[in-house]
Amino acid sequence: MSRRLASFFHGRPRLQVGALLAGPMGWLAIGYLGSLAVLLIAAFWSVDPLSGEIVHNLGLENFETLVNEPVYRHIIQRTVVVAALVTVTDAVLAFPIAFYMAKVATRRGKAILVVAVLLPLWSSYLVKVYAWRTMLSAGGVINWALAPLGLHGPGFGVTAVWLVMSYLWLPYMVLPIYAGLERIPNSLISASEDLGASPFTTFRRVILPLSFPAVVAGSIFTFALTLGDYITPKLVSNDQFIGNVISTNISSDLPFASALALVPIVVMVAYLLVARKLGAFEHV
């Protein structure tokens, strides 16, 4: 049987590749692209106001609501701005850490640092967000620590979301940058120094351009994760993000929820196009 199968495939390269790819490609197509396609179509459906049933007629009402109702514009803006802030914050925090790990630390120190960066990923997401919630609360440790200085913490709100998200996604930024910096040969840095470049010039003209694709890779994680999260905003603020509105609409108005779910996808595609324009994918 197996021999017959083998002889059947012999000399038929197209079939060989097809059979090999059918499994993973099938999963990709049905599980991922297929559901995306259904999501896309559902976004053009609507809900009958009387029966609450989904009407399978294509129309643009959902997108009109998204554009015309100021509340949704604000929510989209808020989400994108926070995602951008989180990304910048994480990049600024992660770069020195990753640089130290890749170029300065000893082999032992490197191992310890990698574990330290990975460690938060081993504990539950909810535990971490609840821990922040406790720290940020009125009687929490942040207010307690700032009290002697006559200050108080940010409390719950958009600032809290920014803080917590920056904390949560930091490892996703550190690891790609670390991997990117590891791949830069030390000889290039020495050469730059030998040619009389100051440390800052070396950083600006050698290290940064070479590690830029890694920073972009990390930023895709932090940006996308922030765009899609709805539990953190729920736990540390009263402000709605895109995910929150999707979750409140999903049972009563699935088409509208689908239309809203396309927003992060569109934003992400635009983001990737800009990143490509900046040359982020050229040296990978």
């Binding site: 390269p13 490609m25 609450g52 989904i54 409140t248």
Partner: protein, 397 residues
């Protein structure tokens, strides 16, 4: 003749494109028949148990204390999934993987309309006979004369406050809903994070603005709805936190972030148990602020796709049996649905504390219902649940 070599990437794309087309075809076929009614007929005769039953419940409804005896006596193993909100319950039921759900009134109509649940043959549930009569044939469990579930228990949403900072003790929702009074506790007010909270504003307006002629807080016409939404928009700047899961509100009251707001018995008892300073319109005063309150009356429903219908019927009969119903009511802090449960409670005063046997009391509790366009009086100019959801998003901003 040159032999054509397929480019691997092109082959891959062909496979993907083919499969996507297949998916779309499936989606198209699937959607065309989803409009038709799928509710199967009710069970006529109880058979042998299927060995297990998969439930969706509120936290505290399915606990080992009373599921263990059930498993022993019926041979049905109980698998329970706890849901946090009515919306979540509806979504879980739509997966078709569960046999039944303890649905509140704001989910039942949606489940019936969606064909997700089947009618219940109450003659197969012997304990149904002795359930309080004011819980039977209600708009949230009986549709066009057909029973769709077995009542489980009921309660009112409470007003809770921190007695150290909220003085004098409030006897009205105005402490959080009247903008002038709410300003005093700005940033310390806790409100329920769900579109159904608009009904709390409607209950308040029904009492304070009789000229709006609100009958049911779930059947609101344009004008009444606008008034309720405006009230909540005015409340918005003073709200410290909207809560949707009990743990979040407990931590807010425990940490001092919230001092007054709407709650469930569960959080109140949990905070009291931790020794935190909380007070609520107490059972001895009927739980209710002077306007009355929204509340819930929960119903066990059976899925139209139930894999274990016999076990589900056995469960529905068991959970309203006098002893089990008394246990769950005392555990959760709600009034039992079973009239004979009152003789089985550990605290002999329990039923009188929770007004289980006083139909008059429950007239001032407005059980959650799904808002529908149909106002119940023949006209259909009421705001439906979708309008409530959209308005809720705007209120929170």
């Amino acid at each position: 003749m040159s032999r054509e070599h397929a480019h691997p990437a092109r082959t891959a794309w062909l496979v993907v494109a083919g499969l996507v087309a297949f998916m779309l075809l499936l989606a198209g076929c699937g959607s065309s028949d989803s409009g038709s009614s799928t509710s199967s007929n009710e069970l006529q005769k109880l058979g042998k148990g299927e060995g297990q039953v998969n439930l969706i419940s509120w936290a505290g409804y399915v606990e080992p204390e009373w599921t263990k005896p059930f498993e022993k006596e019926s041979g049905c193993k109980v698998n329970d999934k706890v849901a946090g909100t009515s919306d979540e319950m509806v979504q879980l039921m739509r997966t078709g993987q569960y046999d039944g759900v303890s649905a509140s009134g704001n989910a039942t109509a949606r489940l019936v309309d969606g064909g997700d649940v089947s009618p219940v043959n109450v003659s197969l549930v012997p304990n149904y006979k002795t359930i309080f009569s004011d819980l039977k044939n209600q708009p949230y469990n009986t549709f066009e004369g057909v029973h769709y579930g077995i009542p489980h228990g009921r309660g009112a949403n409470l007003l809770m406050w921190n007695p150290e900072n909220v003085k004098p003790a409030p006897d009205s929702w105005d402490v959080i809903l009247d903008p002038k009074k709410a300003a005093k506790y700005s940033g310390k007010i806790s409100a329920y994070d769900d579109p159904i909270y608009i009904a709390d504003a409607a209950v308040y307006l029904k009492y304070h603005q009789p000229d709006l002629k609100i009958e049911s807080p779930y059947e609101l016409n344009e004008e009444q709805f606008e008034a309720a939404v405006t009230l909540l928009e005015e409340q918005r700047p003073y709200v410290g936190e909207y809560w949707s899961d009990a743990a979040k509100q407990i931590s807010a009251f425990a940490g001092g972030d919230s001092e007054v707001g709407t709650t469930w018995q569960y959080q109140y008892f949990a905070l009291k148990g931790e020794g935190k300073p909380v007070a609520a319109s107490p059972a001895s005063q009927g739980f209710l602020p002077k306007e009355g309150a929204t509340g819930w009356s929960d119903t066990w429903m059976i899925s139209s796709k139930a894999q274990h219908p016999n076990c589900m019927y056995m469960w529905m009969n068991y959970i309203v049996s006098p002893k089990a119903n008394a246990e769950v009511a005392e555990y959760f802090g709600e009034a039992p649905a079973q009239s004979l449960a009152c003789a089985q409670t550990v605290d002999k005063e329990f039923c009188s504390k929770y007004h289980a046997e006083e139909p008059e009391f429950w007239k001032r509790v407005y059980y959650w219902e799904t808002p529908l366009a149909d106002c119940g009086n023949g006209s259909s100019d009421c705001k439906d649940y979708n309008d409530w959801v959209k308005a809720w998003t705007s209120i929170k901003g």
